[in-house]
Symmetry: C2
Subunit: 362 residues, 2 copies
Amino acid sequence: MEFGFYMPTRVKIGKNCVLKNSDDFKIGTKALIVTGKSSAVNGALDDVLNVLNKNNTEFVIFDKVMSNPTVECVYEGAEVAVEEEVDFVIAIGGGSPMDAAKAVALLAVSDLDRIQLFGSDIGHRALPMIHIPTTAGTGSEVTPYSILTNHEKQTKKSIASDCLFPQYAFLDAKYMQSISHDVMVNTAIDALSHSVEGMLSVKANIMSDIVAAEAIRLISSQFKNLKEGIADKEILLYAAMLGGVVISQTKTTAVHAMGYPLTYFKNIDHGRANGLLLGEFMKYTEKYEPLRVKKILSVMGIENTAEFKNIFIELLGKRDNFSVDELEMYSYISEDTGGVKNSIHRPNVDEILEIYTKSLID
Amino acid sequence: MEFGFYMPTRVKIGKNCVLKNSDDFKIGTKALIVTGKSSAVNGALDDVLNVLNKNNTEFVIFDKVMSNPTVECVYEGAEVAVEEEVDFVIAIGGGSPMDAAKAVALLAVSDLDRIQLFGSDIGHRALPMIHIPTTAGTGSEVTPYSILTNHEKQTKKSIASDCLFPQYAFLDAKYMQSISHDVMVNTAIDALSHSVEGMLSVKANIMSDIVAAEAIRLISSQFKNLKEGIADKEILLYAAMLGGVVISQTKTTAVHAMGYPLTYFKNIDHGRANGLLLGEFMKYTEKYEPLRVKKILSVMGIENTAEFKNIFIELLGKRDNFSVDELEMYSYISEDTGGVKNSIHRPNVDEILEIYTKSLID
């Protein structure tokens, strides 16, 4: 037994947890609220503004975060943070605003250029953060990662530092009321993928496995409801947070690494990209690590990897169109990534292409 | 669903994890090592001194911590910390040195008198700490609690603040090599009690329950080995840490509250005290919360609370002698404690006496 565990974010879960914990928002005197144009729906922004007004805390809103946020976007946000002299950041939204907020909180106090930002040492300082997820997928509210679009590498890349753990995460399913069917499905698959990949990571350990198994169990319990549009949003929000706890320890694997090019080049939703690849990656891994795969299937109450893959086929509907040339390019882009290297059995470039092909063309 | 989760300690587990992570010991420039006369056995102190010497970090050793540390002891330790101008604390030992170290780290930077120390607001500042458990019971290395002997109240009382979470916990089972049979049994029962009580706490939640169930499962898997003196120490050390994670969220219940007088007045080991009471408390709770109790029994793979109680009878051997008068006094002392109030079904003073009597006399 050899592993480490660290997850310093204070998580508060429950209806009206933002309003009920207004004192927690006193971690600074002026807030930068980082969100997307349509992220702060269902009252999340209203609740935060209520709390800030109650606390007499100043704030500025930066609502320019797009899906799959760019480096340009986070530098722009950091500039606002510096100009406005904010001393903490509140992120409201799905993975995109939360990941952007982390990079903004970092760049507001650290002088890093684009190369350094994706380098191995981004330092240990960032503005303190409060994260309020409005989707049940990313788990970013409890991870030390920020995933940004990296045009140099033609994919999405993560930056990581313990200073990117938010100080607080508030999880209230009421902010998910009007989420579309597709977003519910894609984000649930992303959350499931975090936990499944966590169990297929070289860093999987006895502790991450407990959390991953629980998240997988909970999300699996909602597959039928997801299809019917009646999923329990609170369970999924909680399970997605657990998935974040898992990857904080284990990181993600080839599935995420291979999914990023699908998003970068074809604008395929992140969770959907993972879902398209997860079945074949499980089949691939089964050849080398049958017991690990069996453990995941058993938690889900299913028999085999064919049945596993079928869940995603049913949830995701018609596949997107890809050419062999495209998949070859993605294979070369993915081959040397941290995610591929982090897989319990590491696929080489030919095997990556095979997984892509079986997932997307065959 | 409504709960919070917070556990900021960095946990590192594995053989030689102290030596392998010497950089983590650079959290200060001069350390106070808090330990007991015989706590730093099996090389724990040697490993720490190796690391401090390698890092050129100064240190002072305070090795006067006794079992069930007193308030006098922690004030004395704090005086040494101030005089020697240390800026971090390293605790080596079981629950007693770890709990004492927390109070020392607090009192070294906070001017609190004895009344304030047991009051509701001990502030938010303490010296940073590294904890190295050498028993598998307390879980103190991952909790915000310090339990001290309180002569005014004639029992043990806990002080609690998030500033008492250690920064680091290093878990290496090699430090447990020469633990006596009784200590192994008593500490394992303490760890089990934390997780069982966590599931019987009013603060039990979906997340604490996962961790508690895993700890209970692991400790139960070692009952037979414990009796035979061949328990897997690494599994127990890990499970005890999980028990600490549980009570960080849920606190303990009537079992701990009722156990403290047994220790205070009769010097009965803390884990043993819990073990003597746990069976009857389960039986009591079963009457009001049968499903909760059933869940615990099912994790342990046993049928009923009689079988549950029997485990502890077998492990603990002959009971200690108590008079009815003694038990009446303990009942009055326990009645109004936080632990009793924290129980999922709160026993009144007559019920407390009944639990004591059935546990210790009948």
